[in-house]
Amino acid sequence: MISFSEIETTVKRATRSAGFPWGISEEVGKNIRLLEMFGLPGVKNINQYFKIYNVEKFEDINAFSRSNISKKHYCPIKAGVNFFDQSSTISDLGQLEINNLAFPLLFIPFVSRTSELIGKRIFLKMDNKEFLFNFNQSIYSNYLSGDIVERSEKINLQFLENKNSFSETEWSELYKISENTFVEESDELKEKAAGAGLTDND
């Protein structure tokens, strides 16, 4: 079995050899390691991407907007780096759309890391595949095939506001159960067991 460390080093070198700067190559090495750790086919996709990278000219997205449309396919690495670097302003958009992204799985780890950086969950729909990014701690997805995905016609991306996944009533009920571990304080306990005095005016 190839170790994750070998994957990271080899991908970093391969990315450099494809002509990317060292700093981006470092990012891609980390990203493919991340994909493989999350059980997604990083090595397969980057390998296929490098086969056609110099043949097919991809488009860059230098500045993200709510709608990013190109006749040519966007490069997932350049798009990913810029997405990460501009994430603080992009997240203000709330949601955005990218049409025609090549090898979209290579874009995924940039989104996952962005979720951690901005402290928000991100929901991404890529054609019929759905991904929920949880602060780079996990990726929840309905995509399990492990195949190479060469193109995505349409990606919808939504920055999710930090809010509870439960109602106030559900929380109150749970809190009440937790209170059963507390001791009801008698006057004597109030006087003798607390660290501070009975009044703060001393």
Partner: protein
Amino acid sequence: MNIQLRDPKNLMKLSKLGSFHQSKLSFLRSFLNEFKDWEYKRDLFELNEKGYGRAVYSFSKKNKTYSLVCFANEISDEERSDRVIATKWDAAFTLHDGVPTKEDLERLALNVPKQEVGRLSYKELTLSRANKSVRIFDHVVDSLSKGNQPNTELLSKVGYLYRTTAVYGSGKFGLADRFRIKNREEIYGPFRLEMMLVYLVRQFTFDQVNHIARHKNPNTAIELDLNICRNLGIGNSTGLGMAPFIVNHPILLNNWILARETALKKIREIERATKEELNIFKKCLVRSLKNVTNWNTDSEFQNKKIKQLTEDLEKFIKFLNEDFSFENTFPFNKIYIWAEENVGDECIEYIVSMMMEPYDEIVNPLTHKMSSEEDQHFNIPINRTIEELRNILEKRYSEILKIDFKKKENNQNFWFISKNKEEPRVANRYEMEGSNLEQPLAIARDIKKLYETIFTQKNSLKIGKFLTNHNDLRHVVRRAFIAEKFPYAEIQDNTIGSQLMPIDMLRLKLSFFGAIKFDPRSDKWLRICMFQGAPLPSDLKSFDNHWIYNSLN
């Protein structure tokens, strides 16, 4: 008294880092402290009369076991090479996580002797190989088989029976990734498992010579005297592979240096030293002197340093005996200040190491702070500004910014990875081909370029925005923000200049390993000795913490 940590601008110069010595913080010493109450066993020893075959050694505690699996092979003299380009070795080793099954041993027998072209699994933690020091090995076998102990003078000149030529870990060749094991308390210190492998290999070398001698002449053979065993270590030939490591792991480098500097600061802040502490300091200093007088090397570079060290140590001892009183307040601070004013870097760093010897309570907690989580600091803080980046560069890299990279001599070398062995190399960019495939190890040059580039940028510009058009500098932008938080993360020197001595980088790392007797064979590789004087596995329950100086008596 509040002593400041030493300034990285001076300390992180290569010539200074290349003067570091082993200390109580060294990994082989902290490894022995950690594993002293583990149960040691020789689980398997199946060698033929010539000493070829397999063996397994283990350390166990509760339900945890680490097993060294050894394969001793027959090779011809022509096949024996210490260089990384070798393909056969006298012995090959792996450290297995747990107790190896019969199937594991069969799998390992097919792969471990092949080293870089074999494949290991997540169940293996480290991988290594070693060659005999043939002259010494044969002499020991010959002497023992005739009923005599070997010539200790001859042994002390070399110091080992075998020398390793590489010790791999952290996911190389399929070995376990670090994340699988990093939370284990017993290995929460850098290179613990590499140290364990080397330590157990040392025991294998003793068992092997005894075994061969016994088969050579069963009637007269005796076993190698245990005191002689204790005075033998394991040699190591180290090439350029180690040099990029300290550049590629800036936070780890910081944590090693910071631990050393924190220990020094705390010791200098001690107002009154006890009699016992002073005795330990003096005893270690005196006993360690043989470390210097027995330091044999043909290297002119190193001999010059040893000569200076010897003279400086004589001066230091004279100072201690004639002009210094330990009744003084802050005695170690006074010693340190004297050293700064009167002796060279080799001696200053030697004294710093010695000053740690009496202070377990200061040094031991620091050994647990010498690992790092580089990944946690990988993301570039895109919302910071150019002004902040410029301030970091001016504060953390002021020495580097003085270097003029337009001068040919400051730009002379380039680092690359050889296609044949996937190993780092350094070459003259004006004379050799390949600089177009240069590795990103010219940090000083690239930092200077970054500084010049941001000079024309708006102060308020966000880093994320700046990178859109400057991704060629992304790797050094990342480093600058790491250096902001970790003051000892960067070598404050030019790693591509004509004056570069790559062995300074090797020496820095090896001193933290705990190596002694640095023996440069060129400016690019050296030999060292590890575990010389160390307790044997049977001694581990109770041993002298200052064993590193025992070998010299």
